[in-house]
C-alpha cells in the first residue's frame, strides 16, 4: 500500500513537470527513433513546379540503385482513387477538389508528392529520389487571390469551374444578433476602411514529421508525429477503407505541433499504403526543407475592414470582407480556419451591427490549415489594428477608445453580435494591471520627448486588448457549422489495487505538460499524492476515445472529462467505504483522500477502499468489484480568455530596425492549474506572435516556388531576436466548467502580433506612415519612413503606405529569400 499523506491544494501549484525527466536526458521516444526488424525507409519525390502536367515518370534508374526495393506512383499504389479527408464542409455548395496523396496527372503546388521510393536505408532512399525522372508540361501558376477570382483566370482545378472554394457569410441582421451593418455605415459620423495582409506563415514545429507503419500485426500500427492520433485512426479508416478496429495509432513523444500536426497527411497515407504493399514496417521522416515546403501553412488572408463610429468614439458597425488562401487542396480543416475568425472580429467590443463575409480561394501554393490560433489571430490582428486606426482618425487616446467600447465586467454574461455568449471577463482589471506594470504614462511621456526632439530612434506604444474562444468545442456548435465531428473529450480513471492511479486521457500532448497538469487535477480530486498519478495518452489501444489536442481545448474540455471521471470514482468508492464502515453513504464526507463519518475520526482512505474493492471479498450488494470510471464531456460553451498586451518598440528611422524594449501582458485564462506551465505557454505564444509581426513570412517567387524553404530563409526567431517578457495574470474563472479554466495555448500568439505592429506604427505615424505590411522587417520599415518623408516633401497633405519589402537580411525587394 502506498503511504497516504493527505494531499490538498495541488491546483495552482507551480509543480515542476513530470515530462522533463526523459526529455532532459535524451530518453525520448520520437517517431524517428523507432527502429523495427526489417524496417524499410520511404522518401518522397516532390514536384519542383507549382502547376504542371506530369507527362512521364521514369523510375528505371532509381529501381536499379543498390538497396532500392521499389518506386511507386499514385497509380501503382491505387492512391489515384483516394482523396485525403476534409472534415469541414463549410457551405452546402463548397467546392472540393480531389486530393490524392500523390499527384496523379497534374501537380498543383511546388512540393507536392509525385512518387515514392522505398529502400533498405534512408540514405539509399534519398539517393533514389534524385534518380527518378519526371517530365512536366508547365502550366501557369495561380498565386494571387484577387487575380484567381477574376474572369478568365487560370483554374487550379478546372473540373470545379472556379477558383472560389466557398463564400461564407455571417450577418448580424439576418442572424438576429444585431443590426444591419450597411445601415450603420450609412448613418455613421465616421467611417474607417482599411486593408490588411495576413502573410502566410509556417508552423515550423521543431520535430520534423515522421511516420512508421507496421503492417505485420493483427492490427496495423501507425506511429506518427501527430497531434491527432484518434482523428488519424478514424480518418485512415474512412479514407483507406481499413476497418477502424484493425488500426492502432500511436503518437509517441511529439516535438511540437502548433496546429501544424493537426492533419491527416499525404505522407501518412502513402506510408500506410506502401507498408501494406511491402508487407514490412516502413518509416518516412521528412527533411526540414520538405517540412517547410509541403507541411501545411497558416494564415494568408487579405482583410478588408470597415468600421462605423460616432465622433465620440462609440463604434456602431463592423464589416469584414476576407479573402482566404486555401492553397491547392483542402486538408483536414482548411476551409473552416478563416471561419473560426468570424466569431472574433467583434472581439471585446460592443458593435451593434456586424457582417463577416469570407471568400475562400484556391491557388497553386501549399495548402493552408490550422496554425496556432487558427482564424482568431487573424481576427484579433485586424480589429486591434482598426481600433488604433479609428483612434487616429478621431484623435483619441487608443486605450480610451477601447475602454469606451468594451464590455464592462458588470455586463457578463454578454451575448455578442457574432452570436456567442461570453460567460465572464474583466477587461478593466487586466488593463489596469498591465498599464501599471508597463508604466504607460511614463512611456507616453518618453515618446513625446523623442518626437519633439526629432530623435532618430522613435518610440511607439502598441496596444492589444483581446479575447479568444477556446475549448473547441460544443458539439452542437460544430454541428451548426457543418463540421464533420463533435467536440467532446474522454477520460477514464483506473484505481489500482495498491492505491495508485492511472488517468487515461483522450487529448494528445506534444509539449503542453498534460502529464503534470492532469496529475495535479486528479491528485487534488482524489486526495492521492501527485507522484501516485500516471497520465496515459496518445495510443488508441490504451486511450480508445478522444478528439486530441488543438484549439486550447485540452484542459477546458479534456481536463473536465478527467474531473468528471474522478467524481464517478469517488461516488463508487463512497459506497464501498460506507459498507466498510457500516454506515450510510450520507454520513460520509470525503476530503483529502479520506471518507470520514461526519463528527468522528473514523474513516477509510481511498487507497484502503481501492484495495478492498480489488480483493472484492465483501462488497455492497450488487456492486461490481471496480472503482474504475470514465466520462465523456461535451462543453456547453466555449471559454473566453482575454487580456491586455502592451508593447513598447523603438524604431530606428535611419535603418528601419525595430527593437522591442518592453513587453507587458496581463492575461486572464481563468483558474490556473499550474502557473509555471501557463507562463510558459504565454511566453512561447508571444514569441510566435511577435515573429509574425517582425520576422516570418512564407514567400513564393513568380513561378510559384517557395523561396523560404530552409530555416536560413524562414526566420524563426532565436533567443537573440526576442525581448524579455513581463507576464502577469488576473483570474476571472470561467463559469461554464467546474474548474473555472479557460485554456491558454493560443493567447500569447493571438494577442501579441497587433500589439507589436501597433507599436511600430505608433513610433513612425507622426512621420506620415499609415501602414506597414507584416513582417515589419527593417527594409519595410525603412522604406515606409523614406517614402513618407518623400511624400511629405512633394505633397504635404499626403501620407503613404509601405510597399511590400523583404524579411530580415534581405536586400532586394523582389528577390530570393525575402
Amino acid at each position: 500500500m502506498t503511504a497516504t499523506q493527505p494531499v490538498t491544494g495541488e491546483l495552482g501549484k507551480a509543480r515542476r513537470r513530470k515530462e522533463d525527466a526523459r526529455l532532459i536526458t535524451g530518453r525520448t521516444r520520437w517517431t524517428d527513433n523507432i527502429t523495427l526488424p526489417g524496417m524499410l525507409h520511404m522518401a518522397v519525390v516532390r514536384s519542383p513546379l507549382a502547376h504542371a502536367k506530369i507527362t512521364a515518370i521514369n523510375t528505371d534508374a532509381a529501381r536499379e540503385l543498390p538497396g532500392v526495393l521499389g518506386v511507386f506512383t499514385a497509380t501503382d499504389l491505387g492512391a489515384d482513387s483516394i482523396s485525403l479527408p476534409c472534415a469541414w464542409q463549410i457551405t452546402p455548395d463548397m467546392k472540393s477538389p480531389k486530393a490524392p496523396p500523390l499527384a496523379v496527372d497534374t501537380v498543383h503546388f511546388a512540393g507536392e508528392g509525385v512518387a515514392v521510393v522505398v529502400a533498405r536505408d534512408a540514405a539509399s532512399a534519398a539517393d533514389a529520389v534524385s534518380a527518378v525522372e519526371v517530365d512536366y508540361d508547365e502550366l501557369p501558376p495561380v498565386l494571387d487571390m484577387e487575380a484567381a477570382l477574376a474572369d478568365g483566370a487560370t483554374l487550379v482545378h478546372p473540373d470545379l469551374g472556379t477558383n472560389r472554394n466557398a463564400l461564407w457569410v455571417f450577418d448580424s441582421a439576418e442572424a438576429g444578433s444585431g443590426g444591419d451593418v450597411e445601415q450603420a455605415i450609412r448613418d455613421a459620423e465616421v467611417v474607417v476602411k482599411r486593408r490588411f495582409h495576413q502573410q502566410r506563415l509556417i508552423p515550423a514545429f521543431m520535430e520534423p514529421r515522421s511516420v512508421v507503419v507496421d503492417p505485420t500485426g493483427e492490427q496495423l500500427t501507425m506511429w506518427s508525429a501527430t497531434q491527432v492520433p484518434h482523428i488519424l485512426k478514424t480518418m485512415a479508416s474512412l479514407t483507406l477503407g481499413v476497418p477502424e478496429h484493425k488500426v492502432r495509432v500511436i503518437a509517441p513523444d511529439v516535438g511540437g505541433g502548433f496546429g501544424g500536426k493537426l492533419q491527416v497527411t499525404p505522407e501518412e497515407t502513402v506510408t500506410l499504403l506502401v507498408a501494406r504493399r511491402m508487407g514490412k514496417p516502413v518509416k518516412w521522416t521528412e527533411t526540414r526543407s520538405e517540412s517547410l515546403l509541403a507541411a501545411h501553412h497558416g494564415r494568408d488572408q487579405i482583410q478588408d475592414l470597415t468600421v462605423a463610429a460616432r465622433r465620440d468614439g462609440t463604434v456602431t458597425g463592423l464589416k469584414v470582407e476576407l479573402l482566404a488562401d486555401m492553397g491547392a487542396y483542402l486538408r483536414l480543416v482548411t476551409p473552416g480556419i478563416p471561419i473560426l475568425g468570424a466569431f472574433m472580429f467583434n472581439s471585446i467590443y460592443k458593435f451593434p451591427a456586424y457582417r463577416f463575409a469570407c471568400t475562400n480561394v484556391f491557388t497553386t501554393k501549399t495548402p493552408t490549415d490550422a496554425y496556432r490560433g487558427a482564424g482568431r489571430p487573424e481576427a484579433t490582428f485586424a480589429i486591434e489594428r482598426m481600433m488604433d486606426e479609428l483612434a487616429v482618425e478621431l484623435g483619441m487616446e487608443p486605450l480610451e477608445l477601447r475602454q469606451r467600447n468594451w464590455i464592462t465586467h458588470e455586463e457578463f454574461p454578454f451575448a455578442t453580435v457574432a452570436g456567442l455568449t461570453y460567460d465572464s471577463g474583466n477587461y478593466e482589471a487586466a488593463t489596469a494591471k498591465a498599464k501599471e506594470l508597463f508604466d504607460y504614462g511614463g512611456l507616453r511621456a518618453e515618446q513625446r520627448r523623442r518626437r519633439e526632439a526629432g530623435d532618430p530612434v522613435q518610440l511607439g506604444i502598441g496596444i492589444s486588448t483581446y479575447t479568444e474562444m477556446c475549448g473547441l468545442a460544443p458539439s452542437r456548435v460544430l454541428g451548426a457549422l457543418s463540421y464533420g465531428a463533435g467536440g467532446w473529450e474522454h477520460a477514464s480513471i483506473r484505481m489500482l489495487a495498491t492505491g495508485t492511479v492511472e488517468v487515461v486521457t483522450g487529448v494528445s500532448p506534444h509539449g503542453q505538460g498534460h502529464e503534470t497538469a492532469w496529475s495535479q487535477i486528479i491528485a487534488d480530486k482524489l486526495g492521492v499524492p501527485f507522484e501516485d498519478v500516471e497520465v496515459l495518452h496518445g495510443d488508441t489501444q490504451l486511450s480508445p476515445k478522444g478528439m486530441d489536442t488543438y484549439g486550447s481545448r485540452s484542459l477546458a474540455v479534456g481536463g473536465i472529462a478527467a474531473v468528471r471521471a474522478a467524481d464517478k470514482v469517488i461516488e463508487k468508492a463512497r459506497k464501498v467505504a460506507a459498507h466498510m464502515l457500516e454506515c450510510s453513504e450520507a454520513d460520509l464526507e470525503f476530503a483529502q483522500g479520506k471518507f470520514t463519518i461526519k463528527g468522528t475520526d473514523r474513516g477509510k482512505t481511498i487507497q484502503e477502499v481501492a484495495f478492498t474493492t480489488f480483493a472484492a471479498h465483501d462488497l455492497p450488494e450488487g456492486m461490481e468489484p471496480s472503482l474504475d470510471s470514465e466520462a465523456t464531456f461535451d462543453p456547453e460553451n466555449f471559454s473566453f480568455p482575454h487580456g491586455t498586451h502592451l508593447c513598447a518598440a523603438e524604431v530606428d528611422t535611419e535603418t528601419g530596425w525595430v527593437t522591442i524594449t518592453r513587453y507587458v501582458c496581463v492575461d486572464d485564462v481563468g483558474t490556473v492549474v499550474n502557473p509555471l506551465i501557463v507562463e510558459g505557454q504565454i511566453q512561447g505564444g508571444l514569441a510566435q506572435g511577435i515573429a509574425q509581426a517582425l520576422f516570418e513570412e512564407a514567400t513564393y517567387d513568380e513561378g510559384g516556388t517557395l523561396t523560404t524553404g530552409t530555416l536560413a530563409d524562414y526566420l524563426v526567431p532565436s533567443a537573440a531576436d526576442l525581448p524579455h517578457f513581463t507576464t502577469d495574470r488576473t483570474e476571472t474563472p470561467a463559469t461554464t466548467n467546474p474548474l473555472g479554466v479557460k485554456g491558454v495555448g493560443e493567447a500569447g500568439t493571438i494577442a501579441s502580433t497587433p500589439a507589436v505592429v501597433n507599436a511600430v506604427l505608433d513610433a513612425v505615424r507622426h512621420l506620415g506612415v499609415t501602414d506597414i505590411d507584416m513582417p515589419c522587417s527593417p527594409q519595410r520599415v525603412w522604406r515606409a519612413v523614406q517614402s513618407a518623408r518623400g511624400a511629405a516633401k512633394s505633397t504635404s497633405d499626403h501620407t503613404t503606405e509601405a510597399a511590400a519589402g523583404g524579411g530580415l537580411g534581405s536586400i532586394d525587394a523582389q528577390g530570393g529569400a525575402r
Partner: protein, 170 residues
C-alpha cells in the same frame, strides 16, 4: 568505408563508416544515441548539438570520419553517478522546455557557453544560444535556466555539491 575509433559518452567504439555519413546519423543510427536529434538540414536549428573534444558542434555539420580519435559527449552522457548535470537540473527547475525536441542541443550548447563565460549576463546568454532554435518556450525560461546553472556551477557553490557532477566545458 573508413574505420574510425571514437569514444562516445565514455564508451569506445570502432566502426566502419561511409565517408558521407554525418556524425548525427552515426550517433543515432549506428550507436542508438537517439537522444541527439535532427531538426533541420541547413545547420540552423542546433537540435543536434553535441560536444566534440569538449566543445559544442552541430553534429549534422561534422562527418563521422572526422571524429576518428575524438571524444564525443551527447545529452545521454551528462549524468554522473545518477546525478543530473547542473544544466539539466536548471532546465527542469526553470521550466525551460516544453516539447523537449530542442532541449538536448540547447543544453549542450548552454554548457559550452558557460565554458566560454562562466558568469554571463542575459544578453550574453541570448547571443550564445543564437544558433539553437526553440519553437515552444520563447526562450525566456531557457535564458533563466542558463543563468541559474551558471550561478550553481560557480566554484564556491560547486564545492558544496557532490564533486562527481560534471562541470561544463571546462
Amino acid at each position: 568505408m573508413t574505420r574510425i575509433s571514437v569514444m562516445v559518452d565514455g564508451v569506445s567504439y570502432v566502426d566502419d563508416v561511409e565517408p558521407r555519413t554525418l556524425l548525427v546519423h552515426y550517433l543515432r543510427e549506428r550507436l542508438g544515441k537517439t537522444g541527439t536529434v535532427v531538426g533541420c538540414d541547413t545547420s540552423n536549428c542546433g537540435a543536434c548539438t553535441v560536444h566534440l573534444d569538449g566543445r559544442s558542434v552541430k553534429s549534422c555539420s561534422v562527418f563521422a570520419v572526422q571524429v576518428d580519435g575524438s571524444e564525443i559527449t551527447t545529452i545521454e552522457g551528462l549524468i554522473r553517478d545518477g546525478n543530473l548535470h547542473p544544466m539539466q537540473q536548471a532546465f527542469h527547475d526553470n521550466h525551460a522546455l516544453q516539447c523537449g525536441y530542442c532541449t538536448p542541443g540547447m543544453i549542450m550548447q548552454a554548457i559550452d557557453l558557460l565554458g566560454d563565460d562562466p558568469n554571463p549576463d542575459e544578453q550574453t546568454v541570448r547571443e550564445g544560444l543564437e544558433g539553437n532554435l526553440c519553437r515552444c518556450t520563447g526562450y525566456q525560461n531557457i535564458v533563466r535556466a542558463v543563468l541559474d546553472a551558471a550561478e550553481k556551477m560557480k566554484p564556491a557553490v560547486r564545492a558544496q555539491q557532490p564533486s562527481t557532477v560534471a562541470g561544463g566545458g571546462n
